[in-house]
């Protein structure tokens, strides 16, 4: 972990703290209302707000989880720095792709 990785990990953490709060409230609301898929999608489809919110969330979590995984790999696994960095980056890219796809799935009209 160096200053550059630290910056991005802490920055994405700070960005995500309020996003998580909103997300948990959304979960509460949706489960309380017993919302169906139709109900949810009616709200998210075509919404620039939800696209921006979850789009930002996906990018931030991909970076944050990627750096976190890199730390865990270098400290808890026998992997050297370079292979750990590559594996962690691959995981981050996976999250980015699957996340973007998920956002598109619920937001595109």
């Amino acid at each position: 972990m160096n200053v550059r990785l630290y910056l991005w990990q802490r920055l994405t953490a700070a960005v995500m703290a309020p996003l998580v709060l909103v997300h948990v409230i959304v979960i509460f609301y949706a489960t309380r209302q017993g919302m169906s898929a139709a109900d949810i999608l009616a709200r998210t489809r075509g919404s620039v707000a939800w696209a921006s919110f979850y789009g930002l969330f996906v990018v931030a979590v991909a970076v944050h989880a990627g750096i976190g995984i890199r730390n865990v790999l270098t400290e808890w696994s026998p992997l050297e720095d370079r292979p750990a960095a590559i594996l962690a980056s691959a995981f981050a890219v996976l999250l980015l792709i699957l996340g973007a796809r998920a956002v598109a799935a619920v937001v595109l009209p």
């Binding site: 703290a17 998580v20 509460f28 309380r32 139709a38 989880a65 996340g99």
Partner: protein, 116 residues
Amino acid sequence: MTVRDLSHRQGVLWIAALVHRLSGLALAIFLPAHFLTLGLAIRGEAPLESFLRWSDQPLVKLGESALVFLLMVHVLGGVRLLVIENLPWRDGQKELATIAAALSAVIALFLLARIF
């Protein structure tokens, strides 16, 4: 045998650090599944709807509650670290870590209660 004697690894802050790391790992493993599930909506609302119905089972709802706990404890623990690293030092970290865990449990249990 080797010399290692780690029996002092029991303190509150050590457990807090372990919970933070393990919750992060669990969430990281969960995320691809979460994204794939949401991605079901690409094929229309029916596949997503049938997943939501499947997830109505009590055990799944329990699992979702557990995930909310993991998310909250990771975020609250993380905020505690952000405060340590960016604001002047404050004592009482053990107490803050315990409060973070307790609050997370309360929120997760609250969610569970609202479901059942």
